[in-house]
């Protein structure tokens, strides 16, 4: 662990809470981006990043100094993302009712009469890749390929076996290749 981080944590635990801003500053964009990659939603990403830093502050005394601080933050963020996605899924399920279906039908009719102008870059390229991956595949791919963690570290962070990480990673990379080839053939 970085000596500077250790010093800052000791300072915060001693009562100098202002030092927390210095501690999390190097990770603020990384955690936000990770949250965005996991959820595909900027507002959710902001919520997750905020909650991650708040929890990190609240439970700083629980932090194990033999563990990497960055990995600790990543773990909190991943757990938070999982919770938010679960909550969204539950909310979406509850929303689907008859009124919603009728409203959608009405909208579709209107759209057929007055077609909207084409919006070429409505979703970013990254989103178009990530939305085809399951949550576990996304987690594994992001941690291994984008965050540069090893298979073992990824497994310990996600609390699963190395074998599971390898299987999901293999699937995710295959899906990425298929999507890339499709885009290439479409001339995108």
């Amino acid at each position: 662990m970085d000596e500077k981080e250790k010093e800052l944590i000791n300072m915060i635990l001693a009562g100098e809470t202002e030092a927390f801003a210095d501690l999390i500053f190097p990770y603020r964009e990384k955690i936000l981006t990770l949250a965005y990659r996991l959820t595909n939603n900027e507002q959710d990403a902001l919520d997750i990043a905020q909650e991650t830093f708040l929890r990190a502050f609240r439970y700083l005394r629980h932090y194990n100094f033999s563990y990497c601080f960055r990995h600790w933050l990543l773990q909190i963020a991943i757990n938070e993302a999982k919770n938010i996605l679960r909550r969204r899924h539950r909310e979406n399920k509850a929303k689907i009712n008859l009124a919603e279906i009728m409203r959608q039908e009405k909208e579709n009719q209107l759209a057929a009469n007055f077609p909207p102008k084409p919006q070429p870059e409505l979703i970013s390229d990254l989103e178009s890749y990530l939305k085809f991956l399951t949550l576990r595949e996304r987690q594994v791919l992001i941690l291994r390929d984008l965050e540069g963690l090893s298979i073992k570290e990824t497994a310990s962070l996600l609390r699963c076996s190395s074998l599971s990480v390898r299987v999901n990673l293999s699937r995710a990379r295959n899906k990425i290749r298929q999507l890339w080839e499709r885009k290439k053939s479409q001339g995108g």
Partner: protein, 226 residues
């Protein structure tokens, strides 16, 4: 290794996550199969473009959100770690010790529970409840030493009739006790004849169930009336 097997291993090989012995076999296959090599190249390119795309898209914190977060953190308090969370091994040892102690306690015979502090209430109750039957030998001893009146006598006025030690011989004590019992019966403290049967009625108004127990004085454990 055939092409099908090679295709399965390619995604891991592309990110150098393949185990060394499999990597060796895959490399040997790739050297001889141009189609698989092409597939591997396209996989590597796809991953590289994905990584590049991901690196480009990096979100920035809106200043207001960051300021809000810092404000929230100022109001937060760092939670303290509970003792047993901080010392997990100690917690485990302690819980095992309690479990072991419990098992030993359950397996102890009932008589040995007396020393256990929890049973002190039970012991107190046992002391307070009067003995229903006292052996003649105990009665003799109690009279001779002139301690408190034997608990046998419910009518306390009879207790004053107990003579002081030395005034009555030990042999006469039994007959003296018998005469006192007789007097007690006459005074009504003990009913002259106990009923042969006792009936207990239990009625539950909530459910309307009525339970009747009829207990016979000569009923023995084998279920037969003598």
């Amino acid at each position: 290794m055939n092409c099908r097997q090679a295709r399965k291993l390619m995604p891991l090989y592309a990110g150098s996550d393949l185990r060394p012995h499999l990597e060796k076999r895959l490399k040997a296959h790739l050297a001889s199969c141009s189609q698989c090599q092409q597939e591997l190249d396209s996989l590597k390119m796809a991953l590289a473009s994905f990584k590049e795309m991901a690196q480009k898209k990096e979100l920035q914190w809106p200043d207001l959100c960051w300021a809000n977060l810092m404000e929230q953190i100022k109001q937060e308090k760092i939670k303290s770690v509970p003792f047993f969370v901080a010392n997990k091994r100690l917690a485990l040892a302690f819980s095992l010790m309690i479990l072991l102690f419990g098992i030993i306690l359950i397996n102890l015979p009932r008589e040995k529970w007396k020393w256990f502090p929890l049973s002190s209430v039970t012991q107190q109750k046992m002391k307070e409840t009067p003995a229903k039957e006292i052996s003649p030998a105990f009665e003799e001893k109690a009279i001779a030493e002139k301690k408190e009146a034997p608990l046998l006598f419910k009518d306390k006025s009879l207790s004053s009739e107990i003579p002081a030690p030395g005034k009555i011989k030990k042999k006469e004590a039994a007959s003296f006790v018998a005469s006192l019992k007789e007097k007690e019966k006459l005074s009504g403290a003990i009913p002259a004849e106990a009923p042969d049967k006792i009936t207990i009625n239990l009625f539950l108004p909530e459910t309307g169930i009525q339970v009747i127990w009829i207990l016979h004085k000569d009923f023995d454990w084998q279920g037969a009336i003598k």
